[in-house]
């Protein structure tokens, strides 16, 4: 049964670490202005993720990827 479970806002510092780690892991060299823009987009994505994850679907709901065996 779906249940609302409010989650805290993800901290800016955590997002900055996430972004820097991801750029390094993907061997992407980003100029400071690109990074700043990307970080603002990541803020929006993180807020969207908080909204989505705040609905607790339990353990039974299957994800819906594209795969047809």
């Amino acid at each position: 049964m779906a249940r609302e479970t409010p989650l805290p806002k993800i901290e800016d510092a955590a997002l900055a670490q996430l972004l820097d780690g991801a750029l390094a892991a993907h061997a992407v060299t980003a100029r400071p202005e690109w990074r700043a823009e990307a970080l603002s987009y990541l803020r929006s994505i993180a807020d969207a993720a908080t909204l989505v994850r705040s609905l607790d679907l339990g353990d039974a709901e299957d994800p819906a990827p594209v795969f047809h065996p």
Binding site: L18, L23, L51, R53, P63
Partner: protein, 477 residues
């Protein structure tokens, strides 16, 4: 060059519907070659202002037209789209051209060896490809602007956006350059240009039409479909494009389910409702007025709340950002300077999305699908705005919706994203309402049906067209 004859008829037919052109070519009142020449002439005369085309495949089109005329002369049966010119968003493979997908980077790809599946299907039905169309870079766009090729302009007001990412498709159809254009729709990229340019558009059910030979954006959400100036043309082209595609691993096997013979069945017995909640919140008055006009014409006063649409949109946003970034990760590392910055910086953000966020979005997708299925037990069709406003000005960065200043680029799709998120079929129907700024410009309404019921969406769209509520006239240029 063969003399086109009769010339006056062909010139008129260059801005006619596909059904009219096919009927004239089949009857022999005009040759396919004459229609093709008139179409190429109109593109040459008009497209400099509209910038819908990035490639014109003139010689290929002439050869194809001659083959159709020869087939008719030999007494062979012609297809349902005989002699009908069409064009495709430049993420569809066209044999002999690099599939640029709106980008600078892809221009270095080898020319495609084969046409995309849907190009092959339309040509098998007698249609004639005349070129590739402008689009937002890698389809990550709702504006129709493109750093590398320039913006495709709205034919109804050249200072305004065509909408994206299938902006060239909307512009080409609205400008009367072709009667049918193909686009892709991941989060709204057929429905947004249909709304801004005032064309009919069909985003079929996810998995219905084969995507083989099209450059992907987010395979979990990518759909392909037609834009046209009549519902009958949507139906004709949609029927021609159905069928198994062994190049698309995401296609769902379905029987051939033609709709062209059903769109005149009317709406008697259909349970039609207006989508409320999220779909009645953040928009300009003209978006709600358009829905109300359509609802009144269909004699419905039922409004239903679509549960959790905000979460659906958020989930689509996450999946798009993550999968789009994954697709382009290597290019971001190797050629970051060659991206449009507005696209690149969003893709960079997408690289940082944890798998758990994507998984949560995909799990919610299944949940939302089940909730919407319950809604469709009570209703056959839902109505919602296609865009929150008419076409914004080119270069416009923000607008105010319900008192909140919001960015144009991501928010033109705020009503389309929750619907494509679960792959529902939608017909976009363009209407005009005397409300708000620039009332001469069109704005579209989404007619939303349950999965695999494109016929219902198109029946309602056809009824609105028949009653004169929805129409897609060629823009005066």
């Amino acid at each position: 060059m063969n003399a086109p004859h009769p010339v006056p008829d062909a010139t008129r037919l260059a801005t006619a519907t596909a059904a009219e052109i096919a009927a004239a070519v089949t009857a022999g009142s005009v040759t396919a070659r004459a229609v093709t020449e008139a179409t190429l002439a109109r593109i040459a005369a008009v497209d400099g202002a509209v910038n819908a085309f990035t490639d014109v495949t003139a010689e290929r089109a002439r050869a194809r037209a001659d083959a159709i005329d020869a087939a008719r002369a030999a007494g062979s049966a012609l297809g349902p789209l005989a002699g009908v010119p069409f064009a495709v968003k430049n993420l569809f493979d066209i044999a002999g051209l690099a599939t640029r997908a709106g980008s600078k980077i892809n221009r270095a790809l080898l020319p495609s060896a084969r046409d995309a599946m849907l190009v092959e299907k339309l040509e098998a039905a007698g249609a004639i490809l005349v070129g590739g169309l402008n689009m937002g870079e890698y389809a990550y766009d709702f504006t129709g602007e493109n750093l590398h090729d320039g913006a495709s302009c709205n034919p109804h007001d050249l200072t305004r956006m065509s909408g994206g990412s299938s902006g060239g498709s909307g512009a080409a159809v609205a400008a009367g350059l072709v009667p049918i254009a193909l686009g892709s729709d991941t989060n709204g990229s057929i429905r947004v240009p249909s709304s801004l340019c005032g064309t009919f558009g069909l985003k079929p059910t996810y998995g219905r039409l084969g995507r083989g030979g099209s450059f992907p954006f987010v395979t979990a959400l990518d759909h392909l479909g037609p834009l046209a100036r009549s519902v009958a043309d949507l139906a004709l082209s949609y029927d021609a494009m159905q069928g198994a595609d062994d190049r698309d691993g995401g296609q769902t096997p379905r029987p051939f389910e033609p709709v062209a013979g059903l769109i005149g069945d009317g709406i008697a017995g259909l349970r039609i409702a207006v989508a409320g909640g999220w779909f009645r919140a953040k928009a300009m008055p003209e978006a709600f007025a358009a829905v109300d006009k359509v609802a009144a014409a269909l004699a419905t006063d039922v409004t239903v709340d679509v549960p959790d649409a905000a979460r659906a949109r958020a989930s689509a946003y996450i999946i798009t950002a993550a999968e789009g970034a994954s697709l382009h990760a290597r290019r971001l590392a190797d050629r970051p300077e060659d991206f449009d910055p507005a696209v690149r910086d969003r893709l960079l953000a997408g690289l940082a999305i944890p798998a758990s966020w994507v998984d949560a979005a995909q799990r919610f997708r299944r949940h939302f699908q089940a909730e919407m299925a319950k809604l469709f037990e009570q209703h056959d069709v839902l109505l919602a705005p296609a865009t929150p406003c008419r076409a914004p000005k080119l270069g416009q960065r923000s607008f105010v919706l319900d008192g909140e200043e919001m960015l144009v680029r991501p928010n033109l799709g705020l009503f389309t994203q929750p619907i494509s998120f679960i792959g529902l079929p939608v017909a976009a129907v363009p209407v005009r309402v005397d409300v708000g700024d620039a009332p001469e410009l069109p704005i579209a309404v989404q007619v939303i049906a349950p999965p695999w019921r494109e016929d219902l969406a198109l029946r309602v769209a056809a009824e609105l067209e028949r009653r004169g509520v929805a129409s897609a006239p060629v823009a005066v240029l």
